[in-house]
């Protein structure tokens, strides 16, 4: 495949689709199993296993009490109160391991989300590029510069209420492109990935908004003196087929990593 001019190859890894395999699913499955395993290990060593075991036993006891003494309403009510108390204590005990894993997990999930959260646009498929300015005055000065192989299919739409200019664009060939938003001579690049495979995708390039940039954008910040606040590409959300349903990867990861975690905790005898 010829690499068109303007392609940013450094920040973009494109994994081609493998015929007959649901690659995103396999990746989610693999990561879920590994993470499920690692998490139960981390849980084992960062939690108070004895206390968790005890509070879970207490929970079960109070549940059984509701059943055993069901004819005695005061006992049922008291048991229900104790169930709530034990649940609170259990959540508190589970919170400590959460502190240990929360940051690495967020980093991991953010990185995975770059690959699995959105699908790249296909060649020939129209997509929107949206530039948001900090004020309405700048809107008339904004233009879009496209690399060869890309073209707009409609005039730019100005939305003064939201300080936005929107273009509809089509790429003729696959690849990773740098498009530029020009405002008063200042050129602000944004990567666009056109592919049918699995690619690292950054849907938005932002000015400031540190946390949002960390979590949503895979690109460097826009210059702080720029009147443009963000440049966004409307990638479609990726759905992964599993058991006859279309899943968002995070839900699939949730289910599979839990299943893996439950399996490993049973095998390893870890109290969760």
């Amino acid at each position: 495949m010829a690499i068109p001019t303007g392609i940013n190859s450094a920040s973009c890894v494109v994994l081609p689709g493998v015929h007959g395999f649901n690659l995103p699913f396999l990746i989610v499955l693999l990561i879920s199993v590994v993470i499920g395993f690692l998490m139960v290990i981390v849980f084992r060593y960062t939690s108070d296993q004895k206390a968790i075991h005890k509070v879970k036993d207490q929970l079960k006891a109070h549940l059984l009490a509701v059943r055993l003494f069901q004819d005695q309403l005061p006992v049922v009510l008291k048991s229900y109160g104790r169930i709530l108390r034990c649940t609170g204590r259990y959540l508190l005990l589970a919170f400590r391991p959460l502190l240990f894993v929360i940051i690495p997990m967020i980093v991991l999930i953010v990185q995975l989300d770059r690959y699995l959260g959105f699908a790249a646009v296909n060649s020939g498929q129209a997509f929107l590029v949206k530039a948001q300015a900090s004020g309405v005055d700048a809107l008339n000065d904004i233009s879009l510069l496209l690399p060869p192989g890309m073209r707009t299919t409609a005039p730019a739409v100005h939305a003064p209420a939201s300080h936005e200019v929107i273009w509809r664009v089509v790429a003729d060939d696959g690849g990773a492109y740098d498009i530029n938003v020009d405002i008063a001579g200042q050129k602000l690049a944004k990567t666009v990935v056109v592919s049918s495979g699995l690619a690292r995708i950054s849907p938005v390039r932002l000015r400031e908004h540190f946390w949002q940039r960390m979590l949503e954008s895979g690109e460097s910040a826009l210059p702080s003196n720029s009147p443009i606040e963000s440049v966004e590409v409307s990638y479609p959300l990726r759905d992964i087929s599993f058991l006859g349903y279309e899943w968002n990867w995070i839900w699939l990861f949730f289910v599979l990593s839990l299943a893996a975690g439950f399996a490993f905790k049973t095998v390893l005898g870890i109290e969760i």
Binding site: V66, L68, V76, I83, Y90, L98, I102, I109, G117, I272
Partner: protein
């Protein structure tokens, strides 16, 4: 500028780190975005489990709420008499197995039992007549059914199989599953073991339950297997261990010896393997190799380290110091093909030098995952286990054999007893909380076991304590009574003035200083014959010539005639011959004198035909022997052994007993209500409770309801 010390710097750094972590966690939790909303399986587990718990609780509660009016109506329609005629709202029965009225009276008089004193002063204190014989399974069966043994079929711990002169457990029969599948070398059980309760009669809590009166029954003897009734019940005395025995401890030792324990325990070798030592716990028979007698084993490892050792059993490791007990440890006996038996036991590190010795309690049925039903409903034992942790489920949970065989010392035995007792107390107070109306009955065995084993220190001149100076003797029994009194005090604080509190015991206690081998007496007096050339027999009548034997004894108080048509090799004709033989034996045995002390060894011999009445009298022995104070059946005689000596000293720690003339060992009856009857009996408890709850008395009951003034005092 002040320079931070190292500690301050570290603390400050920790604080900063904690602050950053908390801040991040807070940010993430307060502003969750799509991708970080799920922070891995750890959070997922917590959320899912909590949700699931609350969901199930909600379902349970919703079910309870929604169906409550319907159930209430149904109860009202079916049992509209519940509480309508009741003189009390709640009855709390504390059973202190073996609490002796004379000792209680003495300690009350000395001001040591303030709560019992209060009950005596403001309510009732009486001697409670016991059963014939005065043995716990017999007396407690009478307590719960309100009938004599002829109607409940329990005459001793052991019954006698007349076909082979061998003993069987009188309370329950456990057999393998009815159907099996033969698969090569394996015999796969299809179904659960068959457990048949041998006690007959209907416990009074069944009548109460049917009438809509809720009952919590904890560890009353002879309630295994648990019977269905509207209430909760945890079985007590007679629940077997995982081996199916009434308690088989295990002493793992590096000492090489062929000696075997007389009963109640086994020695298991410890093998050295480098720095580690290996041994095993003997378990039940392999269910897949039926009839082979092959036992399953659970291996464990010991790694000594100074004055302690690391023990690893079934993947669980713990460290024990010499003289310490472990918590309850789960053990698994694997049989193959995925079959296994699970139990719990406690380890006691006896010594590490010069030899290594580890005592392991009998393997109890795990209450959280019972292989046999030990409660009704089954979930009740699970509930208690989840609430309080694992607990002893074996009927005779206090290992008296281990102390008798000097495997445990006094302190180790007491620690075991009071550990079990504390568990029982927790169960009692939970039952009190859950049973605001109805019956709450709980039996404590500690009183019985401790008196059995420590009476030697109370006796002036007990053979088993002659080597202990009088001033060195611990006040174990006085301490026991104080503890029980304290428990009663705490229970009294939990009850209101519409609650009847009854403290009862099934029998009292006496010293057991001299053993009587009745089989030896029968042999020497021509009633029991040995095979030619033999002067003694083995256990269970080995070498007894049945063709010339007219009478024999087995168990604690029963004497049997070798009756034609009943015993397999019987020679005594029923009718006149049997009657005259019984009379002859009674005449000779009643008043039998111990030549060494000049004291009377037997103070009464009772004919079962006149003592009992009911459909099961035929299963009773022919005579009940009532031993005099200080005497009891010898250890050998109980096991069907004929020795050359009739009387001998009892040198065992088991030094107090109640298997004597029942007239000598009444139990106690304390109550917070005034009871008018002067001579109450244990058989009267059931009708009294039924009457107090306003229920009609079933016609077959032998007991009489007491006149109770239902205005509590104090």
């Amino acid at each position: 500028m002040r320079v931070l010390s190292n500690n301050e710097a570290v603390t400050s750094e920790r604080r900063q780190r904690a602050f950053v972590l908390l801040a991040i966690a807070g940010l993430v939790l307060l502003w969750p975005l799509r991708s970080e909303a799920y922070a891995g399986p750890g959070a997922g587990f917590a959320v899912l489990s909590s949700f699931w718990t609350l969901f199930v609780a909600f379902l349970y509660s919703a079910y309870a709420f929604i169906t409550w009016p319907a159930r209430h109506l149904l109860r009202f329609a079916r049992r509209r008499h519940a509480y309508r005629n009741a003189a009390i709202q709640r009855a709390v029965i504390l059973g202190f197995d073996g609490m002796d009225p004379e000792l209680a009276d003495r300690f009350i008089g000395e001001g040591k039992l303030p709560n019992l004193a209060k009950l005596r002063q403001q309510g009732t204190f009486r001697k409670l007549r016991t059963t014939y014989p005065a043995i716990s399974p017999v007396a407690w069966s009478t307590f719960m059914t309100g009938v004599n043994p002829g109607k409940h079929n329990i005459y001793d711990f052991l019954g006698c199989d007349r076909n082979n002169y061998l003993p069987f457990l009188s309370s329950a029969e456990i057999r393998g599953p009815k159907r099996t599948l033969k698969l090569g070398k394996y015999t796969i059980p299809l179904g659960k073991p068959c457990i048949k309760g041998m006690r007959r009669g209907i416990p009074f809590w069944h009548w109460l339950g049917k009438a809509g009166i809720f009952c919590s029954v904890i560890r009353v003897p002879v309630t295994f297997p648990p019977e269905k009734f509207p209430g909760v019940l945890l079985s007590g005395m007679c629940v077997p261990d995982l081996k199916g025995s009434q308690g088989t401890f295990c002493l793992c030792t590096t000492v090489k010896t062929d000696d075997k324990f007389r009963e109640g325990g086994v020695r298991v070798p410890i093998e050295r393997n480098g720095s580690a030592l290996h041994s095993y716990i003997p378990g039940p028979e392999d269910p897949l190799a039926a009839d082979s007698g092959r036992e399953l084993r659970a291996a464990f490892e010991i790694r000594p380290n100074g004055n302690s050792a690391r023990i690893t059993a079934d993947g669980e490791s713990f460290t024990l110091k010499v003289g310490d007990y472990s918590e309850w440890v789960p053990v698994k006996f694997k049989a193959g093909l995925g079959f296994s038996a699970r139990g719990i036991c406690r380890f006691y590190l006896k010594q590490l030098s010069p030899e290594v010795e580890v005592y392991v309690t009998p393997v109890n049925i795990d209450p959280a995952r019972p292989d046999l039903p030990i409660s009704h409903p089954v979930t009740y034992s699970i509930y208690l286990s989840k609430l309080f942790g694992p607990y002893a489920t074996l009927g005779l949970a206090e290992d008296t054999w281990a102390l008798n065989e000097e495997v445990l010392d006094d302190n180790a035995f007491l620690a075991q007893c009071y550990g079990n007792h504390d568990d029982r107390e927790r169960m009692l107070f939970d039952a009190l909380e859950k049973t605001r109306q109805g019956l709450c009955a709980c039996v404590f065995d500690t009183t019985d076991r401790v008196q059995h084993m420590f009476w030697r220190y109370l006796d002036e001149d007990h053979p088993a304590a002659r080597n202990v100076a009088r001033d060195q003797r611990p006040n174990v029994i006085e301490d026991l009574y104080r503890r029980m009194d304290d428990l009663i005090g705490r229970v009294m604080k939990q009850i209101d003035n519409r609650t009847l509190l009854m403290v009862i015991s099934d029998h009292g206690f006496k010293s057991f200083a001299r053993c009587v081998n009745l089989n030896a007496w029968l042999h020497q007096n021509g009633y029991l014959a040995l095979k030619s050339g033999k002067t003694e027999s083995g256990d269970w009548f080995d070498d007894v010539d049945w063709s010339r034997t007219r009478a024999y004894t087995m168990g604690l108080n029963g004497l049997y005639l070798n009756m034609k048509g009943r015993e397999r090799q019987g020679i005594v004709a029923p009718g006149t011959e049997a009657e005259s033989l019984k009379q002859e034996l009674r005449n000779k045995l009643d008043g039998l004198v111990d030549p060494a002390s000049g004291r009377i060894g037997i103070t009464g011999v009772f004919d079962c035909d006149t003592t009992y009445a009911g459909p099961y009298v035929e299963n009773a022995p022919d005579l009940i022997v009532g031993y005099g104070e200080g005497f009891r059946a010898s250890w050998d005689s109980v096991m069907g052994k004929v020795t050359s000596q009739i009387f001998e000293d009892n040198l065992k720690a088991w030094s107090g007993d109640h298997c004597v003339d029942p007239r000598l060992v009444p139990g106690v009856l304390f109550s917070n209500f005034k009871i008018a009857d002067e001579k109450p009996a244990i058989v009267d408890v059931a009708p009294t409770i039924l009457k107090l709850f306003g229920l009609p008395l079933p016609g077959h009951l032998d007991g009489k309801a007491w006149a109770v003034a239902t205005e509590p005092v104090g």
